[in-house]
Amino acid sequence: MFRTVKELVEMAEKENIQISEVMIRQEMDVKEKTRSEVFSEMERNLEVMEKAIEDALQGVQSVTGLTGGDAVLIQKYMQEKTPLSGNLLLDAVSKAMGTNEVNAAMGTICATPTAGSAGCVPGTLFAVKNQLNPTREQMIRYLFTSGAFGFVVANNAFISGAAGGCQAEVGSAGAMASAAIVEMAGGTPQQSAEAFAMTLKNMLGLVCDPVAGLVEVPCVKRNAAGSSLAIVSADMALAGVTSRIPCDEVIGAMYRIGKQMPSSLRETGEGGLADTPTGRLLKEKIFGMSM
């Protein structure tokens, strides 16, 4: 069983296999399941992600009215204009936000690694899919690779906003996505680790300050940031750029920063954006009405 990214990469290199394959073999071993059982369980998750994105692109609205409809706005903009940041990047942003709009609307999603950060992995997957034309198996492998990196973070640091701030949540999700993009694009296991480190580095210090304590504002748009950073970091890694601070040390830094955060900035809805005049006003409005 791997505990660190270093061990994960070494296992892949030693056997000359992909990160996804290391994760698949470990899962089969730990749960005493066959390859096809493990694959079909992950395929079910993939189907849930696909359906959530389809629903989002039809347009959804949360119960509070705080979020919804932005994924559709972006798709429309992409059709009518030439996006400055590029179609693939904006498509990922739209699909990541859309997934979280469905989540906020209490629809069915797959937590990756959490519900509040459920957009980054599927959002990037269904955007890069249009360019890389992966097989269904490669798409399922994308989720195993994401999971392998998330597994290290969850066991060595944390993945929830309440425990470690949004850096632990969307930070991990975006970083997991960037490692998976690299593998799907034909990069090496080490390049996946570099991409992961670069994404997480750029998310360090990110606080969890949901307005009215709800997974809506700023969560939905932070999934946009996480997924775009994932693509940029994947590109950097594929170009040969490396992280000067090794991946596992970045995860360690994230852990220590999270520990140092006051509880007001860890999903209590008491600090940061939640504690702005508008944030407080929205909270009053939402809890004044019947939910």
């Binding site: 470990q26 369980e41 959490t114 989720l143 998330g150 969850a154 309440a162 209590t268």
Partner: protein, 220 residues
């Protein structure tokens, strides 16, 4: 390791909006129901820190209710669980508690019916994963990764042997075992993680072993 499966990270499939507050809460509720062994008729649920501050908007209340009703995290009835609980004569009271706790997402559940009750503490550690950290005042660390049998017994010579003898007879392998007691000769708790689900017949046999007070099981 806290997380041992890739599906703890990619998953669970769930009804939004929060894996810790909704999916995790549902699993704590379901673990409580399993440990009680039947549907309770009343529940007093104390919520701490992030659970206490943000539970209403996250549906932590209906998710805990859904868990007590036996719902899975992706059950479409989840958001209606509070109403369904009422229809099923399950009275639930939520209490926001400001006491200090070790984990920001902590719930303490007292559940019962006319005859009996149990008390447990569950924490939601992220991504829908939970741990049960206390049962009837006994500290424990149950991950829910494996099925488990929890046996309240009197701290007497031979009590543990009588239990393991029965498990051996039925070829049930013990993965992990903990024994905890309040004081010498007093009430004690055996927590036995096993590899496969234990049939009710085996539980009945265990119930009749020496010095056993109460048995419950947790299905993973």
């Amino acid at each position: 390791m806290k997380y041992n499966s890739v599906f703890d990270i990619i998953g669970p499939v769930m009804i939004g909006p929060s894996s810790s507050h909704t999916a995790g809460a549902a699993r704590i509720g379901k673990a409580a129901r399993n440990l009680f062994g039947k549907q309770p008729s009343w529940a007093k649920i104390y919520l701490y820190e992030s659970f206490a501050k943000t539970y209403k908007g996250h549906g932590t209340d209906f998710a805990l209710a859904g868990g007590l009703l036996g719902f899975e995290t992706d059950d479409p009835r989840m958001s209606k669980a509070l109403d369904i609980a009422k229809e099923n004569h399950l009275e639930i009271e939520f209490i926001e508690d400001s006491s200090a706790v070790d984990h920001p997402n902590t719930a303490r559940l007292l559940i019962g019916d006319k005859e009996e009750s149990i008390e447990l503490i569950g924490i939601s550690i992220g991504g829908g994963k939970v741990e049960i950290t206390e049962l009837n005042g006994f500290e424990l660390r149950l991950s829910g990764n494996h099925p488990a049998i929890l046996i309240m017994h009197n701290d007497r010579f031979g009590a543990i042997a009588s239990v393991t003898k029965i498990l051996a007879k039925h070829e049930i392998n013990i993965g992990h075992m903990e024994v905890n007691r309040k004081d010498v000769g007093k009430e004690a708790l055996m927590v036995i993680e096993v590899d496969q689900n234990v049939e009710d017949g085996v539980l009945k046999e265990l119930q009749s072993a020496d010095h056993i007070i109460q048995i419950s099981k947790l299905v993973s």
